[in-house]
């Protein structure tokens, strides 16, 4: 996994979450860059359950790494349809495969068309990473 890798099949927040449309659902996770910054991830704690409504920008959980704790923010509003059942026991999945098996939750967006304009596409996100690279 390269920290510079960006997938062009999804959209991003400036805080390094990704959102990937998959039929009626949107899957949410964090980017390889975010994972590289966090280092070894030891715990993913989601403060939401299936069925909860969450708002775009809402903190929906935290990621603990050996180094630090970070908040997770919802890239879109919607109803939580699934949460990744494997992260409780295997938080390291986020390190190993942030784009796939390390997904965190799925939601049914309630305002996708209105909100998606605020997200970055892969190219914009790549530029964002370059701009914030000191």
């Amino acid at each position: 996994m390269s920290a510079k890798e960006i997938k062009d099949d999804r959209q991003y927040t400036k805080d390094h979450e990704w959102a990937k449309r998959d039929g009626k659902e949107v899957l949410i996770g964090i980017s390889a860059f975010a994972v590289d910054q966090l280092g070894d991830i030891t715990m993913v704690s989601l403060d939401v359950q299936e069925g909860d409504e969450i708002q775009k920008g809402q903190a929906f959980g935290t990621i603990e790494s050996v180094k630090t704790l970070s908040d997770l923010f919802a890239p879109l509003s919607g109803k939580v349809t699934r949460i990744n059942p494997n992260l409780d026991d295997q938080p390291e999945l986020v390190n190993a495969d942030p784009w796939g098996q390390g997904w965190m939750l799925a939601l049914e967006p309630s305002a996708f068309d209105a909100e998606q304009g605020d997200l970055l596409d892969a190219e914009q996100y790549g530029k964002h990473l370059e701009d914030s690279d000191h």
């Binding site: 070894d40 935290t62 603990e64 050996v66 630090t68 908040d71 000191h134």
Partner: protein, 379 residues
């Protein structure tokens, strides 16, 4: 994911900065320096030190030196340990206290003789301690005081294979295991370079620290990494240094100890010699001792799902705020979430249950015996 901003101008670089970049280190600002926080990853580096060996660049630490007649007496009056009972060649851990008995810094003093003492202080406190010691030295005309921090580099080689690697790099004191006792130090040459070699460290493992000139540091770094290549040596950053010291229950200035804490409540009473003559802060500490401690630093394990971090409130089971977490995080060797923190003395017995306020979540924890990790005895 909230971003941590990293930019800061005019950060200082150690003589090993180029080496860190070549090794792919992530460099972050620390106490005014640009320091490697990790190379391949904190857990891998932590594990290397516990099982094999790790090499640290800690050249940011401050080195202050007192020489001349009366140097030992002068320093002895500024630190809580009793230097007069220490023979030359033996390193001493001690706190320098304020008049109020709180901790200005924690130090290791290396007395080469009664007239030549090297003091290592924290990078974050270097300016403060340089001033503090400098003012005291000004009243002792025969004592010469120099801040050698800018020309002294410091490498730490730590782990069960550290001494063998040092010997393999070509040390005039080989075999180190036989010729340099724990907490002893001596002048030596390593890989042809003059060093002050000390069997000290900050990881809970056996190992050495090497003081050398700024210019010799890259050569020594390379020689030690090369000598350790077949032994699984790794360069180790400040991230793993922190997890290693936490498992070993070694205090970090700014976390467990600072100018609001005293060494007795911090569990450093073993390094405070109240009956061995006057030192700055002694009267205040005698008063503390007489009144009795109100709080103590304890080690704890999280029994619920949560990670304690520096600054999190500690609560009684009834939910009252009773203390504060000073350091916390996952302990890679133990596979548990651990922490240190201050609690009222009545809650400090091993087995006492309490709660940690993890940003609003009250997560159960229990007081445990420390150190969390103790290295296996060999030989």
């Amino acid at each position: 994911m909230a971003d941590e901003s990293v930019a800061a101008p005019e950060l200082r670089k150690t003589p090993l900065f180029d080496r860190h970049q070549t090794l792919g280190a992530r460099l972050v600002p620390f106490a005014g320096w640009l320091m490697p926080i990790q190379y391949e990853g904190i857990v891998a580096e932590h594990e290397a030190v516990r099982n094999r060996a790790g090499l640290f660049d800690v050249s940011h630490m401050g080195e202050l030196r007192f020489t001349g007649p009366g140097a030992l007496e002068l320093v002895d009056g500024l630190v809580a340990n009793d230097l007069r009972r220490i023979e030359p060649g033996r390193a001493v851990y001690t706190c320098a206290c304020s008049e109020a008995g709180t901790i200005l810094d924690d130090l290791i003093v290396y007395p080469r003789s009664a007239e030549d003492l090297l003091i290592v202080c924290n990078a974050s406190n270097r300016d403060k301690m340089a001033r503090h010691f400098g003012q005291a030295a000004a009243h002792a005309p025969q004592v010469t005081y120099t801040d050698e921090s800018d020309r002294t580099a410091l490498l730490a080689l730590q782990g069960p294979r550290a001494l063998a690697i040092l010997d393999a790099a070509g040390s005039s004191l080989a075999p180190t295991a036989d010729r340099l006792g724990t907490f002893r130090f001596a002048e030596a040459t390593v890989a042809g370079r003059p060093v002050t070699l000390a069997r000290t460290g900050y990881t809970g493992e056996d190992g050495v620290e090497l003081f050398c000139s700024w210019d010799d540091a890259p050569k020594l770094w390379d020689a030690l990494l090369e000598a350790g290549q077949g032994q699984g040596i790794r360069p180790v950053g400040l991230g793993a240094r922190d997890t290693l010291r936490l498992e070993a229950r070694l205090s970090l200035y700014g976390n467990e100890i600072d100018e609001t804490t005293n060494p007795l409540e911090a569990g450093l009473g073993w390094s405070v010699k109240l009956d061995a003559g006057e030192f700055l802060g002694r009267q205040a500490l005698l008063d503390v001792q007489q009144r009795g401690l109100t709080r103590k630093l304890v080690g704890f394990e999280m029994t619920g799902r949560g990670v304690a971090r520096h600054g999190y409130p500690l609560l009684s089971l009834e939910g009252q705020v009773v203390g504060v977490c000073t350091s916390g995080g996952p302990a890679p060797t133990l596979g548990k979430n651990i922490g240190l923190g201050y609690l009222p003395v009545e809650l400090t017995e091993v087995g006492t249950e309490f709660l940690v306020d993890c940003r609003g979540k009250h997560v159960p924890a229990v007081v445990v015996k420390t150190p969390f990790y103790k290295r296996p005895r060999t030989g």
